[in-house]
């Protein structure tokens, strides 16, 4: 009996480790695409019904913390469907998107990946990120935050069916958001 138990526990752990590896490998590959400015390939990682959303965060008292973030249907920084994401990528490819020419130098770090729920075909995943950006001679920005993703299993990998990006900043300490998170 005990042997059975420990084998099952070991199998579960191995399955969880494998799943963790799959998700983390997906995220590091995704980050590599962004940092290499391979936006056409990056945007293909999103499902057609995706929702790419970055709400506005507000400094509120602890007793009103439920109102810290704006919700879909209110004002946000990003509130994108797949066609809008494709439009952003098309804009970057025009050769006249001056905010990214010369391109920003970016480095994405994705950590603390936690699979919150596994429904078989879909996974709720939270992660932390740091996006470091430097532009031209003197501009430097660091954004830290978390992402709440819905990952959908697809052809041995995943599609991002939802990404909510929660920045730590309230007043954005940058002149724009011309990069992806």
């Amino acid at each position: 009996m005990t042997v059975d138990h420990s084998i099952r526990a070991e199998t579960d752990t191995l399955a969880a480790a494998l799943r963790q590896f799959e998700v983390e490998r997906f995220y590091t590959d995704e980050a590599a695409l962004l940092d290499a400015h391979r936006y056409h390939e990056w945007v293909q990682l999103f499902s057609d019904d995706t929702h790419y959303f970055m709400p506005i965060r507000r400094t509120r008292l602890r007793r009103e913390l439920d109102k810290e973030f704006t919700k879909p249907g209110e004002i946000a920084y990003f509130d994108d469907t797949k066609p809008i994401l494709l439009g952003r990528v098309a804009k970057l490819a025009t050769g006249t998107a001056w905010a990214e020419d010369p391109p920003s130098r970016t480095r994405h770090f994705v950590t603390n990946v936690r699979i919150e729920e596994d429904r078989g075909d879909e996974l709720e995943v939270s992660s932390n990120f740091i996006l470091y950006r430097t532009r031209l001679k003197s501009e430097e920005t660091t954004w830290a935050g978390s992402r709440r993703d819905l990952l959908r299993r697809h052809e041995g990998s995943f599609l991002i069916a939802r990404r909510h990006i929660l920045l730590e900043q309230t007043v954005l300490l940058s002149q724009n958001l011309s990069n992806f998170f």
């Binding site: 509120r60 704006t70 439009g87 001056w98």
Partner: protein, 458 residues
């Protein structure tokens, strides 16, 4: 110490259409702006709908002062300086919310919604009941008033009443939002920081010359519909080529040299509007709804030119009004080379889900830090600011010479502000700087009104 009058006079030339670059980074000038402009002017704080219930508050900047705009129990609105009468600590550290009181977290002095000091720890034991509570309330702004739901305040007791300060241009600009319905602010004020001088961020709202180049990528990618010339003409762009030598293909074409397709308002205290006529802009494939311009309310409140003007208004110094997208934006000066941008979005209370969604989507995807247009703006202003520092560079005057001397200003003393019918121009920018110079001189309100009364020609 005030800047000498002779030096001030040399900073802006209306005749030559030139401005001295140093005004975009000189710290002495910035300090004088804080006192002479932001310490006296009426400044937009927020919209009434943001503080609907008693105890609702919104913190807004007035120069370097932080003001709590607070809805009172009797329905009124007060503007209270967010600083404790004891040792000056901020009495509220959230940007918005709802409270019953403001309690200072340093020693616990507590103020009611009207700013009255109602609680002091040890009032009896330590102050022996001798502290004059009435004299130690939160300080109020000198004047606070609203116009069509927009809340403004000034730190100057001598400032003229708000409606008079706004002039015909400011009142028309606010009406262009307020007249679209029972307007309310959609939750979520976008706030971000651009390392540029605030005046670059302000004067750009009159600039209908830059979109076809600055925002070319957004037009090419189809994220923003390109305005076309009603007669199908194209602006000449011979010799305009990228670093690879390839000539740029312009998407816009609004450039009639003989037919006026733009309307400009120039007004007292430096208020102005500039931009295309409603016929020129069209409805951009259904993206813009102009129907409000023909309502009885609009006919009553706006003159015929204002109903045809699709341009952006600046209520001097820093309130940008963009009616076509139902937004207003504040350009908040934080330092000579640092400006905060705040975007407020409006929707009619009675709007259905589809209209509401369209307004919100447009607000997020056009302006704002991730918007298809405004992503590109910041870097132009930042780099323009940086290049005012160089010993040699700052000696080169900036040129605002487009259509200079061709702007005939008509003031028929009707409802319409003093207006110009013309092609794309730099009149709004130049007027802003000419008025700015008058403000900076620190002259009294009557003289300021005189000095900012538009000439016959610009």
């Amino acid at each position: 110490m005030a800047i000498a009058a002779e030096k001030l006079q040399q900073l802006v030339s209306l005749d030559r259409g030139e401005i001295d670059r140093s005004i975009f980074s000189d710290s002495e000038i910035f300090e004088q702006e804080i006192t002479s402009i932001f310490g006296r002017s009426w400044l937009f704080l927020c919209h009434e709908s943001q503080i609907a219930k008693a105890g609702d508050f919104f913190e807004a900047p007035m120069g370097r002062d932080n003001v709590l705009v607070v809805r009172q129990k009797d329905g009124g609105i007060k503007g209270l300086l967010n600083t404790c009468a004891h040792r000056g600590n901020a009495v509220c550290r959230a940007e918005e919310g709802n409270v019953k009181n403001f309690m200072c977290t340093y020693h616990g002095w507590t103020y009611d919604l009207a700013g009255k000091l109602i609680g002091v720890p040890g009032l009896q034991e330590l102050y022996h009941n001798e502290l004059d509570l009435a004299a130690h309330g939160l300080r109020e702004v000198a004047q606070l008033d609203t116009y069509r739901g927009f809340v403004f305040a000034t730190a100057d007791r001598d400032a003229p009443p708000l409606a008079e300060f706004l002039g015909r241009t400011g009142r028309a600009g606010l009406e262009m939002i307020a007249g679209q319905g029972e307007m309310e602010v959609v939750p979520g004020i976008q706030k971000f920081v651009i390392p540029c001088n605030w005046k670059f961020a302000v004067d750009n709202l009159f600039d209908w010359y830059h979109p076809q180049i600055t925002h070319l990528s957004a037009l090419q990618a189809g994220l923003v519909p390109a305005p076309t010339d009603p007669r199908g003409r194209q602006m000449s762009a011979t010799g305009v080529a990228g670093p690879d030598g390839a000539e740029l293909e312009l998407m816009g074409g609004v450039a009639n040299e003989d037919t006026p397709d733009q309307i400009v308002f120039l007004d007292v205290f430096g208020h102005a509007l500039a931009g295309p006529t409603v016929e020129t802009m069209g409805n951009l494939d259904g993206a813009v709804d102009h129907s409000w311009r023909d309502t009885p309310r609009a006919r009553e409140a706006l003159g015929p030119m204002a109903r045809r003007a699709v341009g952006h208004t600046n209520i001097f110094p820093t309130l940008w009004i963009a009616p076509e997208i139902r937004q207003v934006s504040l350009r908040v000066p934080r330092g000579p080379e640092l400006t905060e941008i705040w975007w407020f979005t409006f929707v009619p209370r009675e709007a259905g889900p589809q209209e509401r969604a369209m307004t919100i989507q447009a607000a997020i995807h056009v302006f704002g830090p991730a918007g298809a247009l405004e992503q590109e703006d910041g870097e132009n202003w930042t780099q323009s600011t940086i290049q005012t520092r160089g010993t040699a560079s700052r000696m080169i005057p900036q040129a605002l010479k487009m259509n200079l001397g061709r702007g005939k200003i008509v003031d028929d003393d009707g409802q319409d502000p003093p207006y110009i019918e013309c092609g794309i121009n730099e009149h709004g920018q130049l007027w802003t700087f000419a008025s700015w110079m008058a403000w900076l001189s620190g002259c009294g309100w009557d003289e300021l009104r005189n000095r900012t009364t538009p000439p016959d020609v610009i």
